[in-house]
Symmetry: C2
Subunit: 388 residues, 2 copies
């Protein structure tokens, strides 16, 4: 049985006046309108958020509060959490609900409100995605970890500094064409080099911002779509998960868990990386995109920097990556990111991406990572959509 994606919506990512529940309810209502369904059509809901408990003390029932605010109280809702991959995993469970024939229509949504607190509070909360007593205590924050990975990449394949800047420049350029993006100003490579150093070699412009936002999608069974004569916005061809660490052979030359999730997703969809026309990739730091485009199969090992510099991941390139602006410039409200990526793919596949539209895409891939890479704490989710 196929699973249809009926509608999608996201709030603007950035600094919002809305609180968590209202951000989420706004995305839910807009996705329902986009799908042409109402609250009474929903059989089940899955809600992703990661660090709201630590940031505002409301660790539980955010999904219930959001659905109530959306006028949809009474829909059974379960929170799904996997750090920054929370809403990608919420979509995975919504698809499971359809595939198991327990539900005909499901909503999956994700939300995070991060800007109400200081950046250091947000960083402390995010460090909970690692092994707190071990990693957080020794200062293995996310920027520190990715800085070490950038250095390792340089040792193995040559200095990625220029390619990292190219990732940032591309992200800001794409975000400029995305009205929902957080950081929309164009930047130059020298802006990246000269920005404040965060963790050598990462500067501030190598790092995604702290953002607020929410995103939602409605999925449905093929029989429901047929019975109601609906036109899907996309078919969900694969949602695959993996868990893991930096690398199974400890060479630190890539993300084994990305390779595993991608292999599962390609098998489920019956396609290969060469079939993907547009991709959203988890670029929490510029170096991450370079690693991940290799591990997703878009470039050979060690060639991610090279294809980036050659413009192959640009909007008009061979495999456009992060046309939305990515986490880096569209923003990264952690619990909302996974479904935010899906929203971009749906827009691209339906020719509604405005000035950032790529040419006639058929397959879109989203790649979302949650948790720390060290210590077997990472979860990877790869989703593949097909244009109807």
């Amino acid at each position: 049985m196929r699973v249809a994606l009926l509608g999608s919506a996201q709030t603007p990512f950035g600094v919002s006046e809305l609180d968590t529940r209202r951000l989420a309810s706004q995305a839910i209502v807009q996705a329902a309108v986009d799908a042409g369904v109402g609250g009474s059509d929903l059989d089940v809901a899955f809600c992703g958020y990661a660090i709201t408990g630590l940031l505002d003390g409301q660790e539980n029932v955010v999904g219930h509060l959001a659905l109530r605010d959306a006028g949809m109280a009474g829909v059974p809702v379960t929170r799904v959490e996997n750090a920054c991959a929370s809403s990608a995993c919420a979509l995975h469970e919504a698809v499971a609900a359809i595939l198991s024939e327990r539900a005909d229509v499901a909503v999956a949504f994700g939300v995070e409100k991060m800007t109400g607190q200081s950046t250091s509070d947000a960083m402390r909360a995010l460090a909970g995605a690692g092994d707190v007593p071990f990693e957080a205590e020794i200062g293995m924050t996310f920027p520190a970890t990715f800085a070490l990975l950038a250095r390792r990449y340089g040792e193995l394949y040559g200095d990625p500094r220029e390619a990292m800047a190219a990732v940032a420049v591309k992200a800001h350029r794409n975000a400029g064409a995305n009205p929902k993006a957080h950081l929309r100003r164009e930047i130059s490579p020298s802006d990246v080099y000269e920005a404040r150093l965060v963790a050598d070699p990462l500067t501030l412009l190598d790092c995604c911002p702290v953002s607020d936002g929410a995103a939602a999608v409605i999925v449905a069974s093929e029989r429901y779509v047929a019975r109601h004569g609906l036109a899907p916005a996309a078919w969900v061809r694969a949602t695959a998960l993996s868990a893991g660490t930096f690398d199974d052979n400890s060479t630190l030359d890539g993300f084994a868990a990305t390779r595993t999730a991608a292999a599962r997703a390609y098998e489920e969809a019956g396609i290969g990386p060469q079939d993907v026309d547009v991709a959203e990739v988890h670029d929490c730091f510029t170096i991450a995109e370079i690693f991940h485009v290799e591990d997703l199969g878009f470039a050979d090992k060690g060639k991610g920097a090279q294809i980036t510099l050659a413009g192959e991941t640009d909007r008009g390139g061979r495999i456009p990556v992060n046309t939305s602006g990515g986490l880096k410039a569209k923003g990264h409200p952690v619990g909302a990111t996974g479904i935010g990526q899906i929203c971009e793919l749906v827009d691209q596949l339906n020719g509604r991406a405005g000035s950032r539209q790529v040419d006639d895409p058929r397959f879109g891939l989203a790649h979302c990572m949650g948790g720390f890479l060290a210590g077997d704490c990472a979860s990877l989710a790869v989703t593949i959509l097909e244009r109807p």
Copy 2:
């Protein structure tokens, strides 16, 4: 397709020296041994916990850390959270993974470490299962809410004080026969009446304790069981969810969400309340058991107190309820409770419940509630197991 339960285990509930991950890994390893499977047989994992973020700052990746400690790193694991129903919902998603044919073998586990902090810290964290800015701020804690419900029950059906004490006495008696229970000493009705008042009419002995603990179950597809010639410990006949509030007609005479989830579960299993031979019911406070046995269909509306006083819910009665000791005396490590209930049912259905064994049960029902009853914040999970 049917879903088999292959094995189950729980740690002792009570005050533990172990931290969250080690509690969980202990339950996982013991459940795997009970099931006769190893980590390499597991396709996917679902982990339930509710308030670990607020209590020890590790809001994310507890499931990853527990699996690593169990020697099972690399199994894709997703956190499932629904306040006190977290692990009941984790089992629901594990069953969905099997039914959707994405997995053949799954582990669902739940854990909470609550005693390391002061009781007031634990209560503050638990208040996050309600609408924090509204309910928590006005003092609508769980004890306050259930005290109001006890008064309402008295107005409608007569004073439940004596029946509430009977629930507590029964819970402690059953816990005395359960080596895994937290509060194993026998108590008398006058002990209940004379205990410290918490929220009138609830005394300390009407309230479940703050406990540590973990529980895990292994489920598998029918084809996996057949292929490997395994003997299931039980068949999962239903796992049903609902969301809701006190009561859909605002009479506050019962829990509408319990009735909804129970109706769904009975329909899925093809049985009725009269077929249930043993039940674990969410008795976070003594009055809760009285409400819920009515809404589960074990007693007519307003007769829950009466059947309790008549001994019908005792171990040798018509419908034995909380033979484990229940939340009230077995203990309530919130994220572990739902699967802890399942462990008791599995023991009863397999004749391994020792001196608390009921006579030849075929169907067992577990009822687990998460979130506040006010404000549409509650999630209800009802699970029905059948003896193979």
